[in-house]
Symmetry: C2
Subunit: 350 residues, 2 copies
Amino acid sequence: NQTFELDSNPHTRLNILTGEWVLVSPHRTKRPWQGKVEDVTPDNRPEYDPKCYLCPGNGRADGDTNPEYTESFVFNNDFAALLEDTPAGSMNEDDLLVANNQKGLCKVISFSPKHNLTLPEMTVEAITAVVNVWQKEFNSLAEIEWIKYIQIFENKGEIMGCSNPHPHGQIWSQGDIPLEIAKETERQKTYYAIHRRSLLADYLKLELKKNERIIFENDHFAVLVPFWAVWPYETMIISKRHVNSIKLFNEAEKKSLAEAIKILTTKYDNLFETSFPYSAGMHQAPVNNGYYPEWHWHMHFYPPLLRSATVKKFMVGYEMLANPQRDITPEFAATRLKEMSVQHYKTSKA
Amino acid sequence: NQTFELDSNPHTRLNILTGEWVLVSPHRTKRPWQGKVEDVTPDNRPEYDPKCYLCPGNGRADGDTNPEYTESFVFNNDFAALLEDTPAGSMNEDDLLVANNQKGLCKVISFSPKHNLTLPEMTVEAITAVVNVWQKEFNSLAEIEWIKYIQIFENKGEIMGCSNPHPHGQIWSQGDIPLEIAKETERQKTYYAIHRRSLLADYLKLELKKNERIIFENDHFAVLVPFWAVWPYETMIISKRHVNSIKLFNEAEKKSLAEAIKILTTKYDNLFETSFPYSAGMHQAPVNNGYYPEWHWHMHFYPPLLRSATVKKFMVGYEMLANPQRDITPEFAATRLKEMSVQHYKTSKA
Ligand SMILES: O=P(O)(O)O[C@H]1O[C@H](CO)[C@@H](O)[C@H](O)[C@H]1O
Ligand SMILES: O=P(O)(O)O[C@H]1O[C@H](CO)[C@@H](O)[C@H](O)[C@H]1O
């Protein structure tokens, strides 16, 4: 008589932040791959590309010219999905056709003047400068009263829809609270109402005690594979202090966050010896909408690669129609990432 | 002073089946595309491929040999994500680490003995034979008492993680009710409790009256772009009769469904003159779990292509972290699909 084992039997795990379950199929890694193989983008970019709209001194789609910046540089997205001058309005026919206007602002942040860098290849000081810009942008967007949520994120790699390899991220802010934030607010609020403690603080405490999914920690942050991770090498950075937004990070915390990002993204690159693609972004409390004591700042990394630089996980039929599903276990992924060097493979080879 | 217009201003639309909103950015199609361009898989497959594990008479990973079948052929997935002999068990540490075992069965259906066909290239009679197999499989899986939900789906195209071009689909059935079905059950139940009518029947009636998003209808089914579509050319087939599963379709309905599938997939192929990739699948009531009078059978098609055979929509940073987002309007997509010929581009060129 077999006993149920998380590392070998199919099972579901609860995402405590959303209330949703992920289906885990640990045995399925034996599946041979005969399907789509991704191209690896050749990594021989120049430090300056005259055709790149993010490089210093170059022109952009809206006719502007970038300054000769030396750290990071922020501007409004020339092809923004959200616009500030959206007129008010809505429709509702019999509760069946329901729509509302949506105001917003989309910004782009170049992380570095150098076209050929990525976060893991930047110094902790240079990444700290990026964290400072994130905080400054967050603070000034939060002063605009109609803005209710500010999403800071990065799409890295062609496979993640990134159309320019110049290191950069985005900030989309908007007049309503988006879906994922609404879910995480509800779950954190419920937990806080019962326990008067942060859900993620309690979760982090348990994870640090068990030490099965922790990849790295420093004074102010821990990096782990969440118990309910969906993407093969999905991770989360959680702040040790219970703060509800980047606004509250002090200088030491900002430097620690920069270090955590550098170490995590370096380990990612080392995993398959490739510039590791992902979408990453911070989750934090809504703004201009009351008080959110339950909210605990964290940052998600959603990387698609599964087996190698060219074989990704497809979230398709069953996943789109029924339920998220993963093949390797979160514990396996955490162990792999933990054992990766903190020295970038490019520099250790040179 | 501008007035709010669905076809030009950013807005959100409510998905009445899930209660979630999609962000629509109609103005964003002007964005130039400098990012990833997909390969088009060359379409010169032979009718029989000696190395294909789905072709008649060939061997499979588990050592079995396929019969010399002439219509469709069903077998258990050799690399199933769900297994029947999963031992019972669960874990819960402080409501923070929560997992349950999950029993299930994964089947594969070859749609045709011919390696080089796809649904739009098959006759209505041959597709009707596939619909018959879906119904038969559904009925026999529903007789297994621990099975609570049966997901019938197809991943088409390499870009949708399909590892073999031989026309085929899958059926995953399992002991719990997956996420998307739980959401759609709740919304349909609530509507039914208030109105004593099917949510989708009322929605379809309104859509047929407005005729802005209808692509095609026959005696028993309508094909439309839902008001809340997320994927650029996402569509839905809705049965005109309110039935809660494929089990209840009669012979005339099964033939009508085959015709609707043929016409929709032909229009898809004609849109960018390519074998149009998608994930598609039926949503229907859970089984062995009480009575679901509110459930209304429908089939979703989620295709990723946005602008051409090689440029897809990326659901990445903002979409993963915050909210689903689309660029063209559902009305634009419906108009394009409506005007496409029902004659397949390959045969009309020949
Ligand atoms: O079962 P297949 O075709 O090998 O695999 C494909 O479909 C599955 C179900 O949607 C996904 O989990 C896989 O990621 C995908 O590659
Ligand atoms: O804004 P970009 O980089 O042009 O576009 C990319 O990120 C956006 C936000 O996640 C997505 O909506 C797009 O599909 C993607 O290609």
